[in-house]
């Protein structure tokens, strides 16, 4: 029997970014970090039965900005000589912890939206810094803001050490400034010097945790911006708001859901952390299709962000699959009870597992077409109708993507 050790565990120390490879590594982690938040937010969004609900509008605005942040982090990475990886270990498998968080951070699960999810997971992800003067933290950070502060100091250090030109001459030429269509605020910055790099970092942190103000700013006191986005205003109504970080921050949006300021609407009874491997029959193949489409989006994005002409991959594949394929597939899964005889309005239901599968696009199209041709017979006619109404347009969109990708399936 070994004696009880009373020594303190070694505390992870902040290692400042001192070299280009370290900066690139941190930026790749940033890309992975931003990406890891998207599936849980998407799950919460797709779980809302009424897509036009106010809560859905709030969550959607956050997801779209996380996508913007991933694009910004990718531009920062491309600006210093490396292209982002959206594959392998850089893609989270759920449930998971926040990558590189000091304490693991919140345990991120794929769940339908609930006030508890908003409180315990989403607000924890977007946790603001305790005060404006908290230290930078790189690997093993407490808040995402501190992690980005380390990156900012890394940029400043390398520019001071080697000069701005040296650093940004590493630009791969693969940055994109044309892939953000969101209705929210924010800009997709193309990074070419320290100023634009800091600007990109500020876009990420301001929209995320926002300024660390505990209360809304006094009217007239907030920094002036244009009316760049719509949201819940200080007068309580929905409408144009000035670019106030406090009001727009993801943390504050989730707080409204957690605290009941914005009611959580009815959601599909999706089982937490869907797992394709545990399904059978057509439902399993449907889930595989969803995973394959997610994989297709990631591989197309990786190509779009790692080649100089990523137009086909982004506009021809990633964007339409994100827009017209993943949302209806997720909604169909969430209306599919795990047991054929169960009532899908009671659940438990399937859901998108976000396990990226790599599959040639021609095979994905064939899978979708096969599923479309054979709606499940044991789930009633309403379900079969929903199946066909969902998979028809999904198959058409996949065919179009395949044709553009130079891979005319079937």
């Amino acid at each position: 029997m070994s004696p009880i050790q009373l020594s303190q565990p070694a505390r992870k120390r902040y290692q400042a970014i001192r070299s280009l490879p370290e900066l690139q590594a941190h930026l790749q982690w940033a890309v992975a970090l931003e990406l890891s938040t998207i599936p849980p937010y998407l799950c919460a969004l797709y779980s809302i039965t009424d897509a036009a609900n106010v809560a859905a509008t709030l969550v959607r605005s956050v997801v779209i900005e996380e996508m913007l942040h991933m694009m910004l982090a990718s531009n920062l990475l491309n600006a210093v000589g490396a292209s982002p990886k959206l594959s392998g270990d850089f893609v989270a498998k759920y449930p998971t912890y926040l990558p590189h968080h000091a304490a693991g951070g919140p345990y991120i699960q794929l769940q339908p939206l609930s006030p508890a999810l908003a409180l315990t997971t989403f607000m924890a992800i977007e946790q603001p810094e305790a005060s404006p003067n908290v230290p930078a933290e790189g690997d093993y950070y407490q808040t995402i803001g501190q992690f980005y502060k380390a990156i900012e100091l890394g940029f400043r250090h390398l520019v001071a050490e080697h000069g701005e030109k040296w650093l940004f001459d590493h630009d791969t030429g693969c940055q994109r400034g044309d892939t953000y269509f969101g209705g929210g605020g924010g800009h997709l910055v193309v990074v070419h010097d320290l100023g634009s790099a800091l600007c990109a970092l500020q876009e990420i942190t301001e929209q995320g945790e926002g300024a660390a103000w505990p209360q809304p700013p006094v009217p007239g006191q907030e920094p002036f911006g244009g009316y760049e986005s719509y949201g819940i205003r200080q007068d309580g109504s929905y409408g144009p708001i000035l670019g106030v970080p406090w009001e727009l921050s993801h943390y504050n949006k989730f707080k409204q859901l957690a605290g009941g300021t914005v009611a959580v609407p009815p959601v599909y009874p999706m089982q937490a952390n869907p797992d394709t491997a545990q399904l059978q029959g057509e439902v399993r193949r449907l889930s595989e299709l969803c995973d394959a489409c997610y994989g297709l989006v990631l591989s197309a994005l990786e190509k779009a962000l790692g080649t100089r002409d990523g137009q086909v991959d982004f506009f021809g594949v990633a964007f339409p699959v994100m827009q017209f394929v993943l949302p209806p597939l997720a909604a169909l899964l969430m209306q599919t009870s795990l047991l054929p005889e169960a009532d899908p309005s009671l659940g438990p239901n399937a859901g998108p597992s976000f396990e990226p599968r790599t599959q040639p696009v021609a095979e994905i199209v064939r899978l979708a077409a096969d599923l479309l041709a054979a709606p499940p017979a044991d789930r009633g006619s309403d379900y079969a109708t929903l199946w066909v109404a969902t998979l028809g347009p999904v198959t058409a969109a996949l065919r179009q993507a395949a044709a553009v990708a130079g891979d005319p399936a079937l």
């Binding site: 036009a52 924010g186 002036f224 506009f315």
Partner: protein
């Protein structure tokens, strides 16, 4: 076919102003006004030397067409055997005697219980006296002038004008006529005077105020070509003039223009374009031209943020990609189509499949009264939607847009610069524009022949329209609607009306830096009476002529629309808008 004559534009639009001076209506869509002396228009020209707001004159030209394929040529005195052109215009304002404007009620005929305006006056003679009718005016040669005023009545017409004790403004004229040296006619509108015979004047609602008159008007424009040999030929295809409120952002166009609306009505109901719609079927092999038929719609979207607080970023459409027929951009085109509200679902604010806000984010014809005619949100026209659908399917041609013959180009430009919806009631013309019975040909208002005084209290589309019959539906006085048609609550959202015709938020230039402020009123509380409008409508009756114009100081490629020539002080600190 023999040579024949037409007046262009088919519908000309004059606009009120409190200055004696005037500029001419733009002759291109989204063009700047023209100056009578041909100098280039500068922002200073919106007002005269005394800072009064210049009127917009509607200029009419006679065109000669040798045959059906002739693009037409302008008729000028002294050329081609033409000695001179005699013009006649008859303006009137019938708002006070027509039915109350109640959203869409009346578009398909009025119900028996639909109230008349000033219904307490029941004697027909008394009601006729409430029509503002100065009678017709005629000019017989170049360089002449005459007014539609109490004082200028050369033919001793039995004029009817409102009582002399109107407050806050008296109405003594509906405008006037001028001819230029080239034989063209300029029709001028009123001073923008509105007043009430009930003291003290009060405005109770947006469209129907008893005892009120304004000096907008409309009426037929006819001409006779007089040849040097003494022959006189009546111009076979005459025109119509509308007098409307000022256009404060002349370089910006509404997403649905009056041209779009009338075009759509003729396409769907009169076989105007069988290549687009024939036999009740949309022609799916029709290939619109991107530059001519699609890009103009998208450009209007791009420019809205200059006059209203909408997020500029998502409206900053990439026209190079959207007009590139490479299939890689099909998904992008389909995305934009998916956020455009289909014309069949005007009550759908957000998409129930994607949850995205449907566009345009503007109020519809009827967000005020529940019932079968409810139409809460504006939609593009069916024809516009069809063209966009074809485009999203990659059925579009690239290359330059086809040029119109000059006369038709004037017809079109005049209407493109007007609002084609929402009609509640609108700015220049309301839903009556969708009723083909008022036309004799596309864009041509059907004239009633041999109009004799007094003007009618009713109407008969079969006979044609009298002076005042197009504008009588509009708000009485126009300033009430103009003030209130700023924002509209629909469900829990606040929609905008016609930001291009009635700006809501504008940019001011502060030392080279653009700052977004309200055009009128405050912006802190969306429920406040003075949220982006005057707190009471009567303030607009005296304040409209002090408001600022929105002018592009930049270029077409890099626009920079800023407010200019405002004479109304902004409350609070200088230039201060606050939330």
């Amino acid at each position: 076919m023999d040579a024949h004559f037409k007046i262009h534009p088919a519908i000309g639009v004059a606009r009120v102003g409190d200055s004696e001076d005037y500029y001419l209506a733009p002759e291109t869509p989204g063009g700047l006004p023209l100056l009578p002396d041909g100098r280039p228009f500068t922002p200073r020209d919106f007002r005269d030397a005394h800072h009064a707001l210049r009127r917009q004159g509607a200029r009419f030209t006679v065109f000669r067409y040798a045959g059906p394929d002739d693009p037409g040529t302008e008729v000028r005195p002294g050329q081609g055997g033409v000695a001179r052109i005699e013009w006649q215009v008859h303006l009137a304002n019938k708002k006070a005697i027509w039915y109350e404007f109640q959203v869409l009620l009346g578009e398909y005929g009025y119900a028996p219980d639909h109230p008349l305006r000033n219904a307490q006056v029941t004697d027909p003679a008394e009601r006729r006296a409430m029509i503002i009718d100065p009678g017709p005016r005629r000019l017989t040669g170049p360089g002449q002038a005459v007014d539609f005023s109490r004082a200028d009545n050369p033919d001793h017409y039995p004029m009817t004008f409102p009582p002399l004790d109107l407050e806050p403004w008296k109405i003594d004229t509906l405008g006037g006529l001028r001819t230029d040296a080239l034989g063209r006619l300029v029709v001028l509108g009123g001073d923008g005077h509105s007043g009430s015979s009930i003291h003290p004047p009060q405005i109770l609602e947006y469209a129907n105020n008893p005892g009120w008159w304004d000096d907008t008007a409309d009426g037929p424009v006819t001409a006779v070509v007089v040849f040097e040999d003494g022959r006189r030929q009546q111009v076979e295809v005459p025109a119509w003039v509308l007098v409307a409120p000022p256009r404060f952002a002349p370089q910006l166009l509404n997403i649905v223009t009056l041209h779009d609306t009338i075009f759509d009505a003729f396409v769907r109901n009169a076989g105007l374009r069988p290549d687009i719609f024939a036999g009740g079927l949309w022609q799916r092999d029709y290939v619109p031209n991107f530059a001519g038929e699609i890009a103009p719609i998208l450009e209007r979207v791009r420019n809205y943020h200059w006059v209203v607080a909408i997020p500029p970023h998502p409206h900053d459409l990439d026209l190079l990609k959207l007009g590139d027929p490479d299939p890689r951009y099909d998904g992008l085109r389909q995305f934009y189509l998916s956020v455009i509200r289909p014309p069949a679902t005007p009550n759908q604010l957000l998409s129930d499949t994607t949850g995205l806000t449907l566009m345009p984010y503007l109020a519809g014809d009827n967000c005020l009264q529940p019932g079968s005619l409810t139409s809460q949100c504006l939609t593009v026209t069916n024809t516009q939607y069809f063209l966009l659908e074809q485009w999203a399917l990659r059925k579009f041609s690239t290359g330059k847009a086809a040029a119109l013959p000059p006369g038709e180009a004037l017809d079109r430009a005049s209407l493109e610069n007007c609002v084609g919806g929402a009609f509640s009631p609108g700015i220049e013309m309301t839903w009556i524009s969708r009723n083909l019975r008022i036309y004799s040909a596309p864009y041509r208002i059907k004239h009633k022949q041999n109009v004799t005084p007094p003007l009618s209290l009713g109407e008969d589309f079969a006979q044609g329209l009298e002076p005042g019959d197009v504008g009588k539906y509009m708000a009485q006085p126009w300033q009430a609607d103009f003030n209130e048609c700023s924002t509209q609550w629909v469900d829990d959202r606040v929609l905008w009306w016609w930001p291009v015709q009635r700006p809501l938020f504008v940019y001011i230039d502060q030392g080279g830096h653009l700052k977004q402020v309200t055009w009128v009123g405050t912006d802190a509380d969306q429920s406040a009476d003075d949220y982006v409008q005057f707190g009471s409508d009567i303030e607009m009756v005296s304040g409209w002529n002090k408001l600022g114009f929105v002018y592009n100081q930049g270029t077409e490629a890099e626009p920079r629309f800023v407010e200019v020539e405002r004479t109304l002080p902004r409350p609070g600190k200088a230039g201060g808008g606050s939330q």
